[in-house]
Symmetry: C2
């Protein structure tokens, strides 16, 4: 009587409400307007105030989830687009170059990344664990030469973030050129010879259009980045 299989439609309704709240939070995050009343959030999500507490304990709770899901979505996307690359140094560089372009392609997501990036540089979700994995693999494969992979990860995070800040400060700057330059510099710092670093950073990139608006359809809740 009490035990029953999960009713699908109710779950989906619940999920829809939650997503509306998370999406509203992501839009607010992108504008750096996190100091708003819960009522304003629920209005933006077109949801009753009371529903908020069905899903989150506090504003912090919601914003934390919103940040994590946005970046996890991008991480999953990067994984998919680099899955068939054999050379971990190339996978690292491709992710880095695409993430550099992200600042122009998804400015709102970029702003979320910039605002919370440093805290997330050591998170176990999102971009950090993936960059860490690539770096360790590249070291193990003898492609990178660095006795301090944690520092390498930190420098990678710092470069991604500061590039984003620069691109927002200078709207006319070419994101692709700058991102590739940053990637080249990092590869060289990690022991890749200059010419090869240049070659790697001029390889073709996967077509982001093919994946952008499709569901991640995997471990995550199907959360994706909603373009405003």
């Amino acid at each position: 009587m009490a035990e029953q299989t999960a009713p699908r439609r109710l779950d989906r309704r619940r999920e829809r409400t939650r997503n509306a709240l998370v999406y509203a939070a992501q839009r607010l995050l992108a504008e750096r307007r996190t100091d708003v009343a819960i009522q304003e959030i629920t209005e933006l999500a077109d949801v009753g105030v009371g529903s908020f507490y069905n899903h989150f304990d506090s504003k912090e709770d919601l914003f934390r989830a919103a940040v994590a899901e946005a970046l996890e979505w991008w991480g999953v996307t990067m994984d998919r687009l680099t899955a068939d690359l054999d050379d971990p140094a190339v996978a690292y560089a491709q992710s880095l170059r695409m993430t550099g372009r992200l600042h122009r392609r998804h400015p709102e997501l970029s702003r979320i990344l910039l605002h919370h990036g440093l805290e997330l540089a050591h998170s176990d979700r999102g971009l950090a664990p993936r960059a860490h994995r690539d770096i360790l693999a590249a070291v193990h494969a003898g492609r990178f030469r660095t006795e301090d992979p944690d520092l390498a990860l930190a420098l990678t995070a710092g470069a991604v973030l500061s590039l984003g800040a620069l691109l927002h400060a200078q709207p006319e700057r070419d994101a692709a050129v700058s991102a590739d330059l940053v990637a080249r510099g990092l590869l060289q710092q990690f022991g890749i010879p200059a010419e090869e670093a240049a070659r790697i950073c001029s390889l073709d990139l996967p077509d982001l259009d093919l994946v952008d608006s499709t569901s991640t359809a995997g471990t995550t809740t199907g959360q994706e980045w909603h373009q405003a």
Copy 2:
């Protein structure tokens, strides 16, 4: 009758109240507790609530001033300690290495830097304009080779910030070793040969103890960083 020379003691009293508020705000910033009532701030500053509005229009106003003054103090300190260096590449490296050590020496100031660093990477106060000046001087002197000084500045900022985040995440990590490594990598990226970069980053640093708690006694209001 109305026009009179500024009464000194009143000014100083006023300044004392303002400083108490700024100092309280800096302590809160260091703990990332900016979402507090104004009353809590004034209690921390041991000042009446009403006094707040004698000096600031809003919480944001106060916190903005608190961040700016804290980083301006460090910038002035760096300037003083590198004033007599002829080689701009060396001045750049010295400031960078000392700022790396800052994360351990003044963890509260470091946290403020980390939390607001990206926005301030293009500010006209604090550390950014000084790093920019050093980079341009080094390029002009033929010491740095980079056709994109803005990107160089961004990468510098990113490296400083991500190093700080790493040092906070790993309390046992050696700040001096890591900071010098980061500085070396940047010098190399800017075209300094590996051996010389290593040499520059093992030069003696000025003694921070000599300057830490003395007033900046210059253009700023005498604002300094108060150790808790």
